[in-house]
């Protein structure tokens, strides 16, 4: 089997982010802007884009982008199943597959979201899953579903609340130092975090990501083509999506040893096998956090720590750039940078490995992306610099 590393690389990234409800253009207009940004970043002619991939029930059919982009021929388009952000790395994996098999040569992985066009993200995600069992229980919002998983992680498995606090504080630390972040110049106030209003216990307001309007795009081409473009290639070293038996849309009947996880254990095993890497060899991580505790669960699932050591591993000094053991969410993450259904996370992975991050991790060669946690299908990827090949 051909290794994934060396097939394809991210050559360009673009993102436009606005306050929720404040997008200056309808959703598809913002998306076109972000795609052109990604092409300009790479020095690539947008008319040569021939493939598209997305996730999370994105409403923007790629065929409708052709006139704006000058697309000569669309040869491939696809989307990962699922209403949440679980498919974000999977969409990148699909692009790699399309490029490897010659179905496409230049793929845009994108997500666009403007409330006026697509409504509230939380409502859209839930519409994907809602059923009579959930209505009968009053369990109708992603925050509640993730809260109930988090409660078992805390109460039964003994993960300390301090681990989650540190994860949130690290995100805000980075966001406060990122001019593009919603939390820019706002120092984190831990007392305000601890006393914010309850949403669904154990989550308070600042444990929850709040969506922005906007769009993001990554241009993915073959590794060879990427080397001839403007920016250093950021290679996709490994990528996996899926679910193990005992995980999925199971009316809260997930297997006992998976219930209080983020669902990544099988995906993480695939990633480490594909790349031959281990958690120790990851320099920086972008960990999609719809809700704070699910971010910590992702770190556990990927093997950075376990239930017992999560408190020791997740300390603020360990999780921040430049010198932490594993700086996470170095642009601020969904919590503090902004939340366009997570598309900012792979974009920050790319910027970090190019040395363009607002919170650089010096010498970083590998970056993990963990997609939306807790979704029935989850996905992760590892990115690397040229020297990691």
């Amino acid at each position: 089997m051909r290794p994934i590393a060396g097939i394809a690389a991210v050559a360009g990234v673009g993102v436009r982010q606005y306050r929720r409800g404040a997008s200056p253009l309808p959703e598809r207009g913002v998306l076109v802007r972000a795609i052109i940004d990604a092409c300009e970043d790479a020095g690539f002619d947008p008319a040569q884009i021939d493939g598209f991939s997305s996730y999370g029930d994105d409403h923007n059919e790629p065929v409708r982008l052709m006139s704006d982009l000058g697309t000569r021929e669309l040869t491939w388009s696809s989307q990962v199943f699922g209403g949440g952000g679980g498919g974000i790395a999977g969409a990148i994996g699909q692009a790699v597959g399309a490029i490897a098999t010659g179905q496409a040569t230049a793929v845009i992985v994108f997500r666009a979201l403007a409330q006026d066009n697509s409504g509230r993200l939380s409502a859209a995600v839930m519409a994907h899953h809602l059923n009579g069992h959930m209505m009968a229980a009053g369990l109708v919002a992603p925050a509640q579903v993730c809260a109930i998983r988090a409660q078992r992680m805390f109460e039964h498995h003994g993960v300390p609340g301090s681990a989650v606090e540190a994860f949130v504080e690290a995100a805000y630390y980075h966001g406060a130092r990122n001019p593009d972040a919603v939390a820019y110049n706002k120092e984190f106030d831990i007392e305000a975090y601890r006393s914010a209003r309850w949403i669904s216990e154990p989550f308070r307001l600042l444990d929850c990501s709040r969506e922005n309007d906007g769009a993001g795009a990554l241009l993915i081409v073959s590794a060879e083509v990427a080397r001839d473009l403007r920016k250093p290639p950021v290679h996709i070293l490994g990528v996996a999506q899926g679910a193990a038996a005992g995980w999925g849309d199971l009316l809260e009947n997930d297997a006992d040893d998976q219930y209080a996880t983020a669902g990544f254990r099988s995906v993480a095993r695939q990633l480490w096998r594909q790349t031959g890497l281990s958690p120790d060899e990851i320099d920086v991580a972008q960990i999609y956090e719809n809700f704070s505790a699910q971010g910590v669960a992702s770190l556990i699932d990927h093997g950075f720590c376990d239930y017992e050591s999560a408190g020791e591993f997740c300390r603020v000094e360990n999780l921040i750039a430049p010198g932490g053991k594993l700086p996470v969410n170095t642009a601020g993450g969904n919590l503090a940078q902004g939340f366009i259904h997570g598309i900012g996370m792979p974009i920050e992975a790319v910027r970090q490995l190019r040395g363009e991050s607002a919170n650089p991790v010096p010498g970083a060669r590998t970056c993990l992306l963990a997609g939306g946690p807790g979704a029935p299908i989850v996905s992760s990827a590892i990115f690397g610099t040229e020297e990691t090949l």
């Binding site: 009579g132 309850w198 009316l251």
Partner: protein, 137 residues
């Protein structure tokens, strides 16, 4: 499948809803290997059987996890916040878990706390959804 099952079924679980309409908790057991499958399946992925017997189960179990909800989420206007939601593990049904509203009647809500259920309904977006309401004992 009866009327209740037709309205609320999410797949193979029609008899569950029909049971609630009669005031009974009905859950499926595989006729081939005896495994309790919940959510309901058409085919047992373990033994290949298509034969499922629905058995009446006493609505009593233990809290597997829970949340106290404070935010007025859309559709739940008839529920006064805060309210408790529990995941209830049913030992009598092979550890199958049901989700439901919980009332803190006796012992405080915590993982492992025993609960018993009564049959009722929950209003969601103006519709009465058949439900089991749980109380700590």
């Amino acid at each position: 499948m009866g009327e209740a099952g037709e309205i609320w079924s999410t797949g193979a679980d029609g008899p569950y809803w029909d049971g609630l309409a009669r005031g009974q908790l009905m859950l499926p057991v595989c006729g081939g290997c005896g495994r309790w499958h919940w959510p309901a399946v058409w085919r047992c992925g373990d033994c290949g059987s298509w034969d499922h017997g629905w058995q009446q189960v006493v609505p009593a179990g233990r809290i597997y996890s829970w949340t106290r909800n404070w935010h007025p989420f859309g559709g739940l206007e008839s529920l006064k916040v805060p309210f408790l939601i529990g995941i209830i593990e049913l030992e009598a049904a092979g550890g199958a878990r049901l989700m439901g509203l919980v009332e803190e009647a006796g012992t405080p809500v915590k993982i492992g706390a025993p609960v018993a259920g009564t049959f009722g309904s929950t209003m969601y977006a103006g519709r009465a959804v058949p439900a089991i309401h749980w109380r700590t004992s």
